[in-house]
């Protein structure tokens, strides 16, 4: 297991290097000039040229890429052309907001998806089963940014029970920065009012992001439960006279969880993707809205760094998924 972990971690490195090279080439060979973006609209050609020289943009491409790698290895991702602060600091500022959002969405999607899917599988062909199927197919076909806007329309503008945007009410002091996750920080320091507001602000963005996930997990859980209930071991246990509940809980459900857990990992990419659009709709100060700002302002360093961070998180999550699979299924663990 440990060897497996180390081997997988080493395998991420070439992928991340490739990813960096890809984004690097895209942004350098693309039409946007980061120097012109920094200099602003009133800059003279000489000023732009000076900034180009300062940024090392006149060096050959391989040299530029190597410089970037060396600095990145030291944790230095350069200065954001837009915020004028080190990109690393910007990302650390923004990352917790996105993590809080995606983790809550992931938990929501797993709990609801597995519950609905398992019940639909157990009560196959019931009205409940059909409803779950229709709703999950529709959920997968919904544009998340549009769903977010519809939620705002109904719950913020219409019923006025949920806040429209942001992580906390305007002017409300955020909890002390321990983990950066408002829910955790406010709970640890006993600021229950802050916790409640942070929770209310999370509801709509998290539900929006988890929508597709609930649907996917429910579908996979359902088919896994159906398959497990028709398996030979389930038939055997039934014949021996185990009560239905004894067969379901430890045997059928545990065996059925392996496929959905894989899906949860694959979903993470989809979650980060929809976070980009959903964070813009809800003015959520996370990595997604940061990336959108960075791309629109040709903020070269920021785009590269965020892409790298997302790629790294994505890679680590996939390893975690494989390890969870090992925990759930000893047969998988043996191959690790």
């Amino acid at each position: 297991m440990l060897l497996f972990l180390i081997r997988r971690l080493i395998l991420i490195i070439p992928v991340l290097l490739g990813l960096l090279l890809l984004t690097f080439l895209m942004l350098r060979l693309g039409g946007n000039d980061p120097a012109a973006a920094i200099a602003g609209d009133n800059a003279t050609p000489e000023m732009i040229e000076r900034i180009r020289e300062d940024l090392g943009l006149n060096d050959p491409l391989p040299v530029q890429f190597w410089d970037y790698l060396v600095r990145a290895a030291h944790g230095d991702f350069g200065v954001s052309a837009y915020s004028q602060r080190p990109v690393g600091i910007d990302i650390l500022d923004r990352l917790p907001a996105t993590l809080e959002l995606t983790i809550v969405a992931l938990v929501l999607a797993s709990v609801l998806g597995i519950t609905f899917g398992a019940l639909a599988g157990i009560w196959r062909n019931s009205i409940f089963d059909h409803t779950v199927r229709v709703v999950s197919v529709a959920g997968l076909a919904t544009a998340s940014f549009w769903f977010a806007i519809m939620l705002q329309l109904v719950f913020s503008m219409g019923l006025e029970i949920l806040p429209l945007r942001g992580r906390l009410p305007t002017g409300w002091t955020p909890p002390p920065d321990i983990t950066g996750l408002y829910l955790v920080d406010s709970l640890v320091t006993g600021q229950f009012a802050t916790f409640w507001y942070a929770f209310l602000h999370l509801v709509m963005p998290a539900v929006t992001i988890s929508l597709g996930g609930i649907a996917t997990i429910a579908r996979f859980t359902r088919s896994a439960v159906v398959a497990a209930m028709h398996s030979e071991y389930a038939a055997y246990e039934q014949a021996v006279g185990y009560p239905r509940r004894r067969i379901l809980m430890p045997y059928v459900l545990r065996n059925s969880l392996v496929t959905p857990v894989t899906q949860i990992g694959l979903l993470f990419g989809a979650f980060v993707s929809s976070a980009v659009a959903v964070e813009s709709v809800f003015d959520w100060p996370g990595l997604g809205s940061y990336l959108v700002e960075a791309i629109f302002t040709s903020d070269f360093n920021a785009v590269l760094a965020v892409t790298l961070v997302i790629g790294a998180i994505y890679g680590v999550v996939n390893i975690l998924v494989d390890m969870t699979q090992g925990l759930l299924d000893p047969r998988v663990a043996e191959t690790m």
Partner: protein, 278 residues
Amino acid sequence: MLMLKKFLRDVPAVLGLLIVVIAVILALFPGLLVDNVDRVNRGDILQRLKPPSPDLPFGSDDLGRNIFDRVVMGTRSALTISTLVVSLSMIVGVPLGLIAGYRSGWVSSAIMRVTDVFLAVPQLILAIAIAQILGRGATSAMIALAVTYWPFFTRTVYAETQKIRASLFVEALEGYGASTTRIMLFHILPNVAAPVIVRATVGMGFVILTAAVLGFLGVGAVPPAPDWGLQISEGRKYLPVHWWYATFPGLAILFLVLGFNLLGDGLRDLVDPRLRRS
């Protein structure tokens, strides 16, 4: 024939096919529902932001344009983008998958490592970056989406090809002295066609959704194009009073993507009984 009979018994899949067929007909002949196709970008300023009524089934927008007409015209834009993106991705992705799956050695690993890199970051993020670099517009959005979608075809074809390569008939063909190109094109390609078609159908839905996000974020279609994502982002400014502006284009996305997903599920059930929904 047996396949067709099986397919027709699958109600959701037939429903999906129906939605897709209707959408294709509307995209080819929008005149069936729209009075004046050339005028869909021109509005009547006296009619601005009118709620849905018999004359204006989906209401009118801030420039007094008929939203129903624009939603119908959006079908053409959505289907054009998704068809081109999926075709381009197939043209690039399928041959690469065939080569990587049939050959072994450094060519094969090089192709698969590049594929890994493209799959290592969520598609939307890559697509936004590429679309922004190429400059705002529907063409940029299309190229960006194709650049991010081809690896899925490569992956699918690679996995299938590897399975088939090990089978006896390929060995027999090699024994007869059939050329590599011949084996790949005439014997392996037809065998991987089914999963590719399923992937392409599901991909149509995925591309429509992603293209809508690009339009919404402002890196896709340019106004006054009747693009669904763009319409939602424009209509958002007029909430909550003029709710119809942002609502109907979103419903159109929902229906079309639903159609492709249902159809894709049905095709997968036909093609791959192992994945059958029980």
